[in-house]
């Protein structure tokens, strides 16, 4: 009978193959069973990739920051005799981090913006950091405030961002004092055929509340009001209040059916390239626009975004990039050590600045860099007057309808009714 013969041979081979297998098997089985503390006694992979087993500290960042972090990580590793790995999660870093952390397979440190804090805290994915008052004092107070929530500090900031105004000095040599000045200069240039459009401010088909914020705030518009206890009050939605309506009115006048300053055909895909090609004299954008503008060889200058004549100051959103400690990372103590002690160090912040020139969070370093680089200076000014986005998950429910309303108004819809219906949508969603 064929059956026993085959099985017999298979069994013999089994024994032969299993014997070496037993060795690795027993060492792995001596692991502790607790998921979070299972450690490096697992056999390491042979393809050279850094698996969790080999690295003692794993940091997740997006590709841009990961490059800068490599040298910092290496140094830290050398100083403490540990192996540090910096990894990039290509898409949806924040949601993948939350999933991975919940599964016990996430990194120990994650680099993200302050706008993700609400979501991280809601999912219990990060833990607060405990900085001493001395360490806190060394940081720019506004940036530190941006990473605080409910009395706790959640991350250690290293850079800040805010929207600023880039202008083509060949077309518009002077910084506009008010937004109305900007518009009139721009319109003059368009009529003289020196420019195609007045302004590059991305709107797109579904709107962009982030880029509209400076103008929105200039009329006194706000997203979520603050309650008497200083916390965001989600019952106070500013989308249909006086300030917002005033803004909507003005936006409608400047939209596609009006003076065509704003248009939905300008989106995140072409806004910067329009300016870089010299087609518009002004651009509202952040630090990320700089590289392309310089590559295109445009003579440019920067200034903070001016408010409208007779209205309030234009306050863009201020965002802060920070390092966070994962709640379920396998090496929490090293993570805390790294975030608390390495990130606020001068050398670290300098290296990160060299990779991407944004206002650093260390007060002393910020003064130095702002003095030597105009863009950094203006960015820090924008960040200083900037509005911190409220750290509540309900912000998502406000963001999307507001954007759509703004796009619709730019497209010619009636400002009052559009904003009111947007507010109603938001309130319904938050019920």
């Amino acid at each position: 009978m064929r059956l026993p013969k085959i099985l017999g041979a298979a069994l013999a081979l089994t024994v032969a193959l299993a014997l070496p297998g037993c060795g690795t098997g027993s060492s792995a089985s001596s692991d502790t069973t607790k998921k979070n503390s299972a450690k490096s006694s697992q056999s390491s992979s042979s393809d050279g990739s850094v698996t969790r087993a080999k690295a003692d500290l794993v940091i997740w960042a997006d590709q841009k920051r990961a490059d800068a972090l490599q040298s910092i990580a290496k140094q830290y590793g050398k100083d403490n005799g540990i192996k540090v790995a910096v990894q990039t999660v290509a898409t949806n870093l924040d949601t993948n981090f939350i999933t991975a952390d919940a599964a016990g397979n996430g990194p120990d440190v994650v680099v993200q913006g302050d706008d993700k804090i609400a979501s991280f805290v809601q999912n219990g994915s990060i833990v607060p950091v405990q900085l001493s008052s001395k360490e806190k004092d060394a940081l720019v107070p506004e940036y530190l405030k941006a990473v605080q929530d409910n009395g706790q500090t959640y991350g250690v900031p290293y850079a800040a961002e805010g929207l600023i105004l880039y202008r083509n000095t060949k077309l518009a040599p002077d910084a506009p004092a008010t937004f109305d000045d900007l518009i009139s200069t721009g319109q003059q240039l368009v009529s003289e055929k020196k420019a195609d459009r007045v302004l590059s401010l991305q709107v797109g088909d579904v709107g962009d509340p982030f880029h509209m914020q400076p103008l929105y705030s200039s009329f006194g518009g706000y997203l979520i009001g603050t309650g008497s206890d200083g916390k965001p009050d989600t019952s106070d939605i500013g989308v249909d209040k006086a300030g917002a309506l005033k803004f909507a009115e003005k936006l409608s006048q400047l939209g596609e059916k009006g003076s065509k300053v704003f248009s939905r055909s300008v989106s995140s895909q072409n806004s910067i390239s329009l300016f870089a090609q010299g087609k518009t004299p002004y651009l509202v954008s952040g630090s990320w626009a700089r590289a392309d503008i310089e590559k295109a060889g445009i003579d440019y200058a920067v200034s903070t975004i001016p408010g409208f004549q007779g209205e309030q100051q234009a306050r863009p959103f201020m965002s802060v990039q920070a390092f966070f400690v994962a709640a379920h990372g396998k090496n929490k103590t090293l993570a805390e050590e790294f975030v608390n002690n390495v990130v606020p160090k001068q050398s670290t912040q300098e290296k990160l600045y060299d990779a991407e020139a944004r206002p650093p969070a260390l007060k002393s370093l910020l003064e130095k860099k702002a003095a030597s680089d105009d863009v950094t200076k203006v960015l820090s000014q924008a960040a200083k007057i900037g509005v911190v986005r409220p750290k509540v998950p309900q912000l998502n429910a406000v963001w999307d309808p507001l954007g759509k309303a703004e796009a619709a108004i730019v497209g010619g819809a009636d400002p009052d009714s559009t904003m009111s219906s947007a507010a109603k949508t938001i309130e319904d969603a938050l019920k």
Partner: protein
């Protein structure tokens, strides 16, 4: 042997030799227009429509601003910087990513074609209880929106990784395994073609004493080489372009594929500069075209292999 479209008539002035292409005589004059000329014209129009957007990709890859939305096809200034970055690997290990992509593309495509063809053989040639239902189920399962599968797969693979680190998260082997889950999606492709081959061939072989594996491997497979080749190419393209699962499973630079590596570069970047991404996409087209050219001879071999009777 050559074939003629019309009977040859003796014309004293015709001294040009007959043009042969692919074993057929190429007609001339008005006949050329009737049979071939219009094909070339329509062909050009069709190719223009299909390749036009690709031209934008090429344009963005040599444009320093790298925007695909700037409206003009010809960039103001040319730069090969993006290609240089990719090929020299100064900032990122591009060539490694490229190698990973090719490796996983070829291996998975091969395995998928093999497994799906085997399954198709069983569905097409054999009759067994639950065959109809099984066939429908395979189709059905593929229809399920796979949106949330990444969460489940992450959990599964992280468990696997604890026991077998070579196949866990952050490994190409593990990622490859997950991709193989889509194997049965190709069964339909193969089964259809198996069905179109008459059963008599099988029966003849069985009379001669061939077993089921022989029939499969030595007789039927060669007959469906065109669709095997198409299956291989489609799977290859799908695998090298895959990024949803890759973003969850491949986080370390050494194991990334080109697709996910490039996505990572533009993800954190709000500037709209897609130059590097476009350059990478163009580089990815090269193996695809190369494989297609190599497979062409299998695709057109159907004519020759169809004569086992």
């Amino acid at each position: 042997m050559t074939r003629t479209a019309s009977t040859t008539s003796v014309r004293p002035n015709k001294t040009r030799p007959m043009k042969i292409r692919n074993g057929y005589e190429v007609p001339r004059g008005r006949a050329w227009w009737r049979h071939l000329g219009w094909r070339y014209i329509v062909g050009v129009i069709v190719i223009a429509f299909m390749l036009f957007p690709v031209l934008y990709v090429v344009s963005a890859s040599v444009n320093p601003i790298g925007s695909v939305a700037s409206g003009s096809l010809i960039p103001k200034s040319l730069t090969f910087d993006y290609y240089r970055q990719l090929l020299s690997g100064t900032r990122y290990p591009f060539m490694r990513w490229y190698g990973n992509t090719l490796l996983i593309g070829l291996v998975i495509a091969l395995l998928e074609v093999l497994f799906s063809t085997m399954a198709a053989y069983a569905f097409s040639r054999m009759r067994w209880r639950g065959r109809r239902i099984g066939l429908f189920t395979v189709l059905l399962i593929q229809m399920f929106p796979q949106f949330l599968s990444s969460v489940a797969l992450f959990i599964i693979m992280s468990e696997v990784g604890k026991v077998l680190p070579q196949f866990g998260l952050n490994t190409l082997a593990g990622y490859g395994l997950v991709l193989l889950g889509g194997t049965m999606g190709n069964v339909w492709l193969m089964k259809g073609y198996f069905d179109s081959i008459p059963r008599d061939i099988d029966e003849a072989a069985m009379i001669d004493g061939a077993g089921h594996f022989t029939i499969f491997w030595k007789i039927l497979m060669p007959l469906v080489t065109p669709i095997l080749a198409v299956n291989f190419l489609l799977t290859f393209i799908h695998v090298i372009g895959e990024y949803m699962l890759a973003s969850v499973f491949l986080t370390d630079n050494k194991v990334k594929t080109l697709s996910i590596g490039l996505y990572g570069i533009i993800e954190g970047d709000q500037s709209g500069n897609l130059g590097l991404f476009c350059a990478g996409s163009i580089l990815l087209c090269i193996p695809v075209v190369a494989i297609f050219l190599w497979l062409q001879k299998y695709i057109t071999s159907g004519l020759a292999a169809g004569s086992v009777k």
